[in-house]
Symmetry: C2
Subunit: 381 residues, 2 copies
């Protein structure tokens, strides 16, 4: 008896090849391997119908220079065998990946996950897919991520910078190499491009104004790294409100957290410093989503009652703000819409035939929700 072997791996040691034959097509009925034959290509269609691949390609994309009869046949066949063009081959040919990269500090933050929802909604509609990367507020990781996305040949990039990103060289280089970049949330003036933000200035202004009008005058501000655009804008809104009501501004009432809330110890330290000032603040405004919950937690942990000892208000997109103890006065950003707008602008840049020199700055309105955490005790109930 003679056994025939079909080897899927190099010939095992000790075996000798004495006979070899090539076959055109191998039909395997092994139940384990009736797979990976789903992917039908343009070539298969061409062979099956006795036409060239060019004809198939043209028929599929509805070229007018194909006999309607031939076209019908091809379309029918493609339909029947569920043909899908291989996007990888298309990408190679067209040197477009149909992918956009998104870099955010972290997904597990409602502001960003909502923004990503908006990004995906638009991107998927326009045939792009979205690759998400997280910087975890680290400059290094951000650079690594960008490098990775570039080597993946993304067609464009949406970014909200890490709290440790002071230097924009990596982004400038990116843009110069022809990959469009759009900022959202956290932006920088060092790069000329589209920028999409919430109205941070007004959000902070409204929140501070509300606190002042509620009777608080000594108001602390806890913010992310001070070179971040959001920090600057929100701080300006805060100062504007103070000025408007003739509340003296005191530098000591502002604390910056370089880790932007990623490291709770840092937040607690900041709160502790604030609350140990000779004239401790009667209210605290948190100027960053990630810091807000940390601030509330730290204040409570350090034994202060909210709002009796100190009122708290802050930016947050968490839906449970009104279920907190106490329910939290907050400014909500239109995260979903910001993601949508940024993506529209980015894809516009990607698909623009001519270099774009006019860039937009889109500012979307925030919304203030007043709740118990900022209502002075005497007014309560």
């Amino acid at each position: 008896m003679t056994l025939f072997y079909i080897l899927l791996e190099p010939i095992p040691a000790g075996w000798t090849l004495i006979f070899e034959e090539k076959v055109e097509q191998l039909i395997i009925s092994n139940p384990f391997t009736q797979m990976k034959f789903g992917a039908i290509t343009i070539k298969d269609i061409a062979k099956a119908l006795g036409v060239s691949t060019s004809t198939v390609s043209r028929a599929l994309r509805g070229s007018h220079e194909i006999n309607p009869e031939t076209k019908r046949e091809i379309l029918e066949y493609a339909e029947r065998y569920n043909y899908r063009p291989n996007p990888i081959a298309q990408s190679l040919k067209a040197s477009k990946s149909m992918a956009i990269g998104v870099i955010v500090p972290e997904i597990a933050n409602h502001f960003f996950s909502q923004a990503i929802n908006g990004i995906e909604a638009i991107a998927y509609n326009l045939g792009y897919h979205v690759i998400i990367a997280q910087s975890h507020e680290s400059y290094e990781r951000e650079v690594i991520n960008i490098d990775h996305l570039v080597s993946r040949r993304v067609d464009g990039l949406l970014i909200s910078m890490s709290a440790q990103t002071e230097n924009m060289k990596h982004l400038v280089a990116l843009q110069e190499s022809g990959i469009p970049v759009v900022f959202f949330d956290r932006t920088s003036e060092e790069l000329e491009t589209h920028k999409v933000t919430a109205n941070n200035y007004n959000g902070a202004y409204q929140m501070t104004k509300h606190l002042i009008e509620s009777g608080f005058r000594r108001i602390g501000l806890i913010a992310s790294a001070n070179f971040l655009s959001i920090t600057k804008e929100r701080q300006d809104g805060y100062k504007k409100a103070l000025a408007e009501y003739n509340v003296p501004f005191d530098e000591d009432y502002i604390k910056y957290c370089e880790w932007g809330g990623m490291v709770q110890a840092e937040t607690e330290q900041a709160i502790s410093e604030l609350m140990n000032l000779p004239e401790k603040p009667r209210a605290i405004v948190s100027a960053s989503d990630r810091l807000t919950m940390g601030t509330l937690a730290a204040v409570l942990k350090q034994g202060f009652k909210v709002p009796e000892d100190v009122a708290v208000a802050g930016f947050t997109n968490l839906k449970v703000a009104d279920l907190l103890n106490p329910s939290l006065t907050s400014v909500v950003q239109p995260a979903f819409e910001m993601g949508q707008v940024a993506t529209e602008l980015l894809i516009q840049l990607i698909e623009s035939k001519r270099p774009v020199t006019q860039f937009e700055r889109r500012i979307l309105e925030t919304k203030l929700y007043v709740r118990d955490s900022s209502v002075p005790q005497k007014h309560k109930e």
Copy 2:
């Protein structure tokens, strides 16, 4: 005077082409277009060093059959010009996309965003990128997403099914077509593959047991669609605890929410039905992350005091559970680890040379945090 035009688009109507010439290379010094020249290929290296592309390719991947001297030159050149292999071309050649698809109900849910963190951590390390899609608890969207990911040629899929997915045909077909699938969180018995879940049974058991031991006997359960694996498992844990303490089980005390918390009206309706029972429950267990906050909100909204009128406890991965009013007794799942394990298993499947027939079921432990929402009033303070 004669003008020469270099056209980037078809000849405008009214123009006639009278002269045409091809050039080898066009150097454009237009400041707008000094871009897209960053992408250096293997061919460029070959041309520059006067060797063939094969040699370059082999040198770059460290083949031994290349002269060390040549290899050094190539490596140096590649380094200097920051050469990166084009992953799209590699994908085409190898028919692997180095991408895995992830389908979750929604990103803006801490359980899933933490799981995605775990997924990314592993995937990036192993050179895969992650494409995320959301079903929004809709079966239709889930099917569309899968279709999209398949046409994108992902190498494998991680999925936590939507609350409306009763039918597994789409996943069976997927697996049969050779794309490995790994379940996490929500699984199904209709598919033989790796499955990664939290210990839902034990989590619900512990939580229910805790409530019983705290003195509650009439305990309601609010859950996702009843065909979901997590619903079944958690319900079983709940029943086990009841049985263990001889608390009679009453079918009326269980409410299923088909939208799994996506539609708050549904949740409120369920709570309302529970609380209108002749013998209304004294405690409610929420058996799904997304439902937990909705349950608490609904209970409070309907005017009940927690825990005085009714105690509440539930699954949730939200970090603010202890800042809620009242702080919420909860079961936390090891979401990050679940994502990691699922991804490891998936990539193992993808890279396995032989068909895998032994599948694992990994069950990771949950953790119960007892807080105020489940502590009977008399014991408080």
